[in-house]
């Protein structure tokens, strides 16, 4: 619980309407997109960097735990305030501050919804490519904190590849400006990249300078159906070897296809072992058309039983409908799902899926695998009912084994969701004691009192 005098002080900084302490408000800031819940003692909704800085000065002086957050759509419990204290919610800082057409960069506040940013820059003919599936309900600040990805990352890269500069409020309230519009810069450690993906453990990002690209004018989409999953995997490599870099290459396995068909009846081939949805984009229509046709040919040569290339926008939407139906259909099959986010070397995808299926059989749990085949980022989703204690226990074991599979194949625990709290127990599988120790000393440098989102991202003490 916070003392009344501290609450008063916070109210003086951000205004009383921007400090929430009712039990009802606390409950609504106790969660993100996972099952983890813990209430903060207060929520502060600042309106500018200066206010964040003054809030942090108070928290630093009082050694109060602070958890930064945006819209709370994270999938690793990174923004759940497990230590109580103050949740600093940046959703009110949601302005696009400056669109610099000549340098093709945009300066935004951290609370801008990513889809809003995209539509604003697209209106000016520019393009911000990262497209996490939470694009409409996550903020740029959150995307930076988790280094969010998305299907288009195969061609365009992840959030961090677009971050040119940051304004960060440090644990003691100091305001740090890093980076800028100079594209090349080697005059210091790349501190900016240190904050990208730091999950709010090093500072609170309040403003982000992003580089933009020109908006591709044409997009074509194809769907390929495979009797063998290995062939889908080979296709990915063959397409890239042919010198074509598609924007996306999305994979769905047989469990996923079957579940979509069972609940959504889209007419997908349930006999298939895998489906790939491939999209090519660019600014020259004939090149894009050529690319998608070549891609179709490569799919067939690589073992696809059926290839469909969308000829119209309506057909394109139809092809994507399958991919978009994944979440709704999984949710209809079982009440809960644990969505993992492993990332493996591309060539290991078939082996990873084969082993994950064995895990599903061993623990008698349906596991649906889909994801971004182009970059080896897979989302095995374990479907279960959390009210069933026995199932819960099996889910835990199964997810542990999935992490084991990822590491054995030379992969990692998370490609784009982050570690947060949920993957913390497994960090030792991929991070050596030296790495963890180094991260701990970096943390101590930035946050000597350990008030910023402590207990997330890596273990606080090395055992």
């Amino acid at each position: 619980m916070l003392s009344e005098s501290i609450i008063k002080e916070l109210e003086q900084i951000v205004g009383s309407e921007n400090v929430l302490t009712s039990v009802e408000d606390l409950v609504t800031y106790s969660y993100d997109g996972t099952l983890v819940e813990h209430c903060p003692d207060a929520i502060v909704l600042p309106n500018n960097t200066e206010q964040v800085s003054r809030v942090m000065q108070v928290c630093y002086r009082e050694k109060l735990p602070v958890t930064p957050r945006g819209m709370g759509s994270g999938l690793a419990a990174a923004s759940v305030p497990i230590n109580g204290g103050v949740s600093v919610c940046l959703t009110r800082m949601n302005h696009v501050l400056n669109l610099d057409m000549e340098n093709m960069m945009v300066l935004v506040e951290a609370g801008v919804v990513t889809a809003d940013l995209q539509s604003q820059v697209e209106a000016a003919g520019l393009f911000y490519p990262p497209d996490p599936s939470s694009i409409k309900h996550s903020t740029i600040g959150g995307n930076v904190a988790c280094n969010a990805g998305g299907p288009r990352c195969l061609k365009y890269g992840v959030t961090g590849d677009y971050v040119m500069g940051l304004t960060v409020v440090l644990a003691d309230g100091r305001i740090l400006q890093i980076g800028g519009k100079a594209i090349k810069n080697v005059t210091a450690y790349d501190l900016k990249s240190l904050f990208v993906g730091s999950e709010g453990t090093l500072g609170i990002v309040t403003q982000v300078l992003l580089r933009l690209v020109s908006k591709p004018k044409f997009t074509r989409t194809a769907m390929a159906v495979y009797p063998k999953i290995e062939d889908a995997s080979v296709t990915v490599n063959n397409v890239l070897l042919a010198g074509i870099l598609p924007a996306t290459m999305e994979l769905m396995d047989d469990t996923t296809i079957g579940t979509i068909e069972e609940y959504m009846h889209l007419g997908l081939p349930t006999q298939a072992a895998a489906i790939l949805i491939i999209e090519a984009d660019g600014s020259d229509e004939s090149v894009v058309t050529q690319d998608i046709e070549k891609i179709g040919g490569i799919c067939r040569q690589s073992g696809a039983a059926e290839v469909r290339v969308a000829q119209t926008e309506a057909e394109r939407n139809e092809l994507w409908r399958g991919r978009r139906s994944v979440s709704p259909s999984l949710a209809r099959r079982r009440p809960n799902k644990l969505g993992e986010d492993i990332s493996v070397p591309r060539a290991a995808i078939p082996e990873a899926i084969r082993r994950i299926k064995q895990v599903g059989e061993k623990y008698n749990l349906p596991i649906s695998v889909f994801g971004h085949a182009g970059d080896g980022n897979l989302h095995p989703n374990i479907l279960y009912d959390k009210r069933n204690a026995d199932e819960n226990a099996r889910v835990e074991k199964a997810s542990q084994e999935i992490f084991g599979i990822a590491t054995e194949l030379g992969g990692t625990l998370s490609g784009e969701h982050g570690v947060g709290l949920l993957k913390l127990p497994y960090l030792g599988l991929v991070e050596s004691p030296i790495e963890i120790e180094l991260m701990q000393s970096i943390k101590r440098t930035f946050d000597p009192q350990g008030i910023l989102n402590a207990g997330k991202k890596f273990p606080v003490n090395l055992q």
Partner: protein, 432 residues
């Protein structure tokens, strides 16, 4: 937080089935389309937040406090969350069910002081300013309206409430006869359900509705003893009264033996259609009767869109933009037909951005949650202003009042009308 278990707290009450809310995966997609969240950016003003509060209340971990009640009443019931939820949860419906829960338990000693707080500086001004509310009083829900934040009323709000009311003309009941014969050969027998607001405030629109239907071969029967559709009562958690009204309306209209039951109010239409779904789900016999009734209900644009229409002789030469009422677009999946009517009327249709984003009216929201409602209206008017249309068309009295207020607040050279009025004008060549 030591609390009673839900069994004790909610004993004997109708509570939502946990299947309706436990499958929330908390993804947060609903935040992106929720007008209240997108103004306040507070989680408790989001569908996901309300769902969580309801869940905690049902689990006995939270009390049905003033705060919790207020959060449930903030919902505009615009249904945007229902439409977008990937797992098929209907948070907007659950917010209404929460109100019913609150209504059943009535643990609200906080209401009374609100009613008696001397907040209105000028009694005369109040009388006109609060006319929308008096309409609700006539519907018998005034005590429920009083529950909400009237204590927040400011002079600006009083002025806006006054501006919101169009000049009242004679009620539709006194203007339109009980039976209007079809022009030419009778092709359909239509029962016209006259909504309260249409009758008292927008009788011009309803008179136009009857004329246009008659013009297209419909014999129109408009029983004058129908009662409120029940939506305001549902909105304030009074499900029992809503059910009684539904029974009265079903019994009044079903014996007319009409081919179709038509209304020109988006909200009435969505409620009448709902009679056959959730209203009597625990009464199998009545439910099948209600289902037969609801199957006949159509919005006027939906009905006219399904029959052959005569070409009008005097097409309108105006630019019109169309606002989708929540209870028509999402409540009834009717959005193509009103646009077709506008085009048939000769008007040039200019689409606004976010045409299906709530205008903030939401029944009495402009009274009970004035500030929220005006912020949401401002977003709507920004999109309206970009169209440079001269008419905003919308087939919902609540939307029409709110948009009319928006036009005045922003000083726009625009008029607000029901789409049917433009078609009526195109048939009659009436230049007013």
């Amino acid at each position: 937080m030591a609390m009673q278990s839900n069994q004790t707290v909610f004993q004997g009450m109708e509570i939502p089935d946990e299947q309706q809310y436990l499958s929330c995966i908390k993804c947060g997609l609903c935040l992106s389309v929720c007008p209240t969240y997108r103004e306040s950016f507070k989680e408790a003003d989001s569908p996901r937040g309300r769902l969580m509060l309801l869940r905690k209340a049902l689990a006995g971990e939270l009390k049905l406090s003033h705060n919790l009640t207020d959060k449930m009443y903030r919902c505009l019931d615009c249904l945007a969350c229902n439409a977008i939820c990937p797992v098929g949860i209907k948070p907007a419906d659950l917010a209404l069910q929460a109100r019913y829960l609150i209504h059943q338990s009535e643990p609200q000693p906080w209401i009374k002081p609100l009613i008696f707080k001397g907040v209105f500086p000028n009694a005369n001004l109040m009388e006109t300013a609060m006319l929308p509310m008096f309409l609700y009083q006539r519907l018998g829900v005034q005590s429920l309206v009083h529950k909400l934040g009237i204590s927040n009323a400011l002079p600006a709000q009083l002025r806006d409430s006054e501006r919101m009311l169009p000049r009242l003309s004679r009620s539709a009941k006194s203007r339109v006869s009980e039976t209007t014969p079809a022009c030419g050969q009778r092709k359909y027998r239509v029962a016209f359900f006259l909504g309260c607001f249409q009758n008292l405030v927008f009788s011009d629109a309803s008179a136009a509705t009857v004329r246009v239907m008659a013009e297209n071969g419909c014999e129109v029967v408009m029983p004058k003893n129908v009662k409120c559709c029940g939506m305001p009562h549902l909105g304030y958690g009074d499900v029992e009264t809503a059910r009684a009204l539904a029974k009265h309306n079903i019994e009044t209209l079903e014996k007319l033996d009409a081919d179709v039951i038509v209304t020109d109010c988006a909200t009435c239409g969505s409620t009448l259609k709902e009679y056959g779904h959730s209203f009597f789900s625990d009464d199998a016999e009545y439910n099948s009767r209600a289902r037969a009734f609801s199957a006949k209900v159509k919005d006027v644009s939906e009905f006219l869109g399904s029959i052959q229409l005569r070409e009008p002789e005097h097409p309108n030469k105006i630019r019109v933009t169309y606002h989708d009422p929540c209870h028509l677009r999402r409540g009834q999946n009717v959005w193509k037909q009103p646009r077709q009517l506008l085009q048939l009327s000769g008007a040039e249709l200019i689409e606004m951005r976010e045409s299906d984003w709530c205008c903030g009216s939401a029944g009495t929201q402009a009274i009970t949650h004035y500030r929220d409602s005006m912020q949401i209206l401002a977003r709507k008017m920004q999109n309206v202003a970009r169209t440079d249309a001269t008419v905003i068309a919308s087939g919902c009295p609540g939307c029409q009042m709110q948009l009319g207020l928006g036009v005045q607040r922003e000083n726009l050279p625009m008029q607000v009308m029901h789409p049917i009025q433009l078609l009526d004008r195109a048939y009659r060549g009436d230049e007013k």
